[in-house]
């Protein structure tokens, strides 16, 4: 398939390793990968704050960078940015061209589960990983049944990783409680965000896992900062990095 990468600003600027892993793994799976120019941010920090006027220019700039780009899918290694992009594109532009872009948007896990599943992994990873089930991915993008729901359970994240030999998947207590990042929440509500992050980091560390693995870079950035502050013996990895290692 021909895939256009949607690399959110946070990944581009602060966690390029996540972008690189995403690119490499998609290439290893035989896809042709391009990076459309002119992407900055999906507008989430602004719309999440209620500031729709401030978000318009940013959102439309991102949308324009995908309009007319020839590809089968647009893949993003960040769940909450993807959700925000979808919603914001709808909000600011409901043209057919915009719809065509929206229809092709996939979060990486979603893409690997629903669209182009991985036939087999090549390398074993002998490691225990604690999965970070970030809110937007599970509750807005349906990557897994949230713990509140009594619907038939499914979990795309675990399903994608379960093909990797040697990988031992565990979950923290309060398995999908929010980590407290919440975009500007981390700045606006410092004390609560700090405490949520601390509780989450400890819950992951208490599993005895070597890595916290997640699909949302912003949560991972937040948890990583907390893990290091708390000096816990665990490290964070994006799901793309784990998959790339196993291919």
């Amino acid at each position: 398939m021909k895939i256009a990468l949607f690399i959110p600003c946070l990944v581009n600027q602060m966690m390029p390793e996540v972008g690189i892993a995403t690119l490499e793994l998609l290439e290893k799976l035989g896809h042709q990968v391009i990076l459309p120019k002119g992407q900055t941010c999906c507008g989430q920090p602004m719309t999440n704050s209620g500031c729709f006027n401030e978000a318009r220019a940013t959102t439309l700039k991102l949308l324009n960078s995908f309009k007319g780009v020839e590809c089968d899918a647009i893949v993003c290694p960040a769940a909450s940015c993807l959700v925000a992009a979808k919603e914001n594109f709808h909000e600011f532009d409901d043209s057919d061209e915009a719809q065509a872009v929206i229809r092709k948007l996939y979060e990486l896990t979603e893409f690997l589960h629903d669209v182009a599943p991985i036939a087999s992994f090549n390398k074993a990873i002998n490691s225990k990983v604690s999965l970070q089930m970030s809110c937007h991915g599970i509750r807005m993008l349906s990557l897994a049944t949230p713990s509140e729901s009594m619907d038939t359970p499914f979990n795309k994240v675990e399903a994608v990783l379960s093909g990797i030999e040697g990988l031992n998947i565990v979950y923290p207590q309060k398995r999908d409680e929010c980590c407290g990042f919440g975009g500007t929440f981390a700045l606006d509500e410092g004390a609560i965000s700090g405490k949520m992050g601390k509780d989450k980091a400890h819950a992951h560390a208490d599993t005895g896992a070597e890595f916290i693995v997640g699909f949302d870079p912003s949560c991972l950035l937040h948890i990583d900062g907390t893990v290091r502050r708390q000096q816990l013996p665990i490290a964070t990895r994006h799901i793309a990095q784990i998959i790339n290692m196993a291919l």
């Binding site: 600027q13 690119l23 509140e148 729901s149 405490k195």
Partner: protein
Amino acid sequence: MTQTQTKTHAYKADIFCQDESRVDWHSKALWTLREKRDRAAKQLPEWEQLRTLGSQIKLHTLSNLGQYLETFEANCLANGIQVHWAKDATEHNQIAYDILSRHKVKKLVKSKSMLTEECHMNPYLEQRGIEVIDTDLGERIIQLAKQPPSHIVVPAIHMKKEEVGELFHEKINTQAGASDPTYLTRAARAHLREQFLSADAAMTGVNMAVADQGAVIVCTNEGNADMGANLPGVQIHSMGIDKLVPDMDSAAVILRTLARNATGQPITTYSSIYKAPKSGGEMHVIIVDNGRSDMLQDNILAESLKCIRCGGCLNTCPVYRRSGGFSYNYTIPGPIGIAVGASDDDSNSIPWACTLCGSCSYVCPTKVPLDKIIARHRRLKAEQGQLPYGKRHYMPLVGKLMANETALNCSMSIARTSLKILPHSLLKPFAGAWGKYRELPAGADSSFEAWFKRNREQK
């Protein structure tokens, strides 16, 4: 906009967080309720269908509210119930006072009513010489402590049993140092029994008002609403217009989820249906709007009126559990408190006391889309120029920066470099709240875009 005296949620939460062991205790007490709820819900294979039905019943009733209110009133009147309409809190309190003063009531026993809290009725009546006794155990505790409720179902959840023991010792003469819940509950019961026997009138809230029956349903675990309504001659039931359901079948759907979602019980110990005055007595129903029909005008905000006040969203909310009920600047705290109270919050901060994690929306037995409602409040506040202080200043700048690639690349490259080369202790003060609670991220060597250019485009 003028700066007001009301403190922001973040300010109050910061104070609450200073005692971390108390935060952990509070969070755990509420999470226990969430776990009980999960177990109870899991036992019903049709749980998710019940949620869908509950949501549809409430939406249907709200969409035809005028008609159902009229039917309800007509049936109440036919049953001998006196019906009163109040457009706001003041009118509600006046109506209640009129009824009570007509009967020369000196003491009113009250049960289960967040609405009277919302209307600030107790002080209103007390100023006019009527003693008001809250009879739900939790309500009585906070009334004796002169505090507002911190939760809608377990209003004294913020108090430890030792603190209740101390309070009871001081107010109702229990043994000093006693903290055994059974002992304290018994003592409270004896104390309340005296109140019931000496009261001249009783008032309760309403869990559901059944239109085709002209009846109200009141759910309690302690049976105190019934003690109140059955003893004195005058009984008053205050309800918001959002409490209507069409018939007993729809009431049954909601009864099945209410207690399960609140405390994990299959049903409340008492679910009493009142549909006529007792012989020789009077039964009044006060139907209150107080801003609810305004909310109905907005498609998104309107859905907050589907709420059946089970408290489930509070128990699951990671922010509420860690910041406590008194941080919300509204009688009702937590997600539903933000949904129905945001426009009353002078500090313009409670819509931002939320990470939009969405857990509340999934826990809700009537599918109130709380996260969407909260996001809607943010937008409305922003449009009305009522952003919290800091946001008002930095958001336009963030908007400009993000929309400008060169500026963004430039500033981020400076940020990356500083993160790499400067000692983090030097950067922390600049990183504000982030640096206070977390280590700063390690600066990456280059952006992904630059890496891509070097590694893919130049090949």
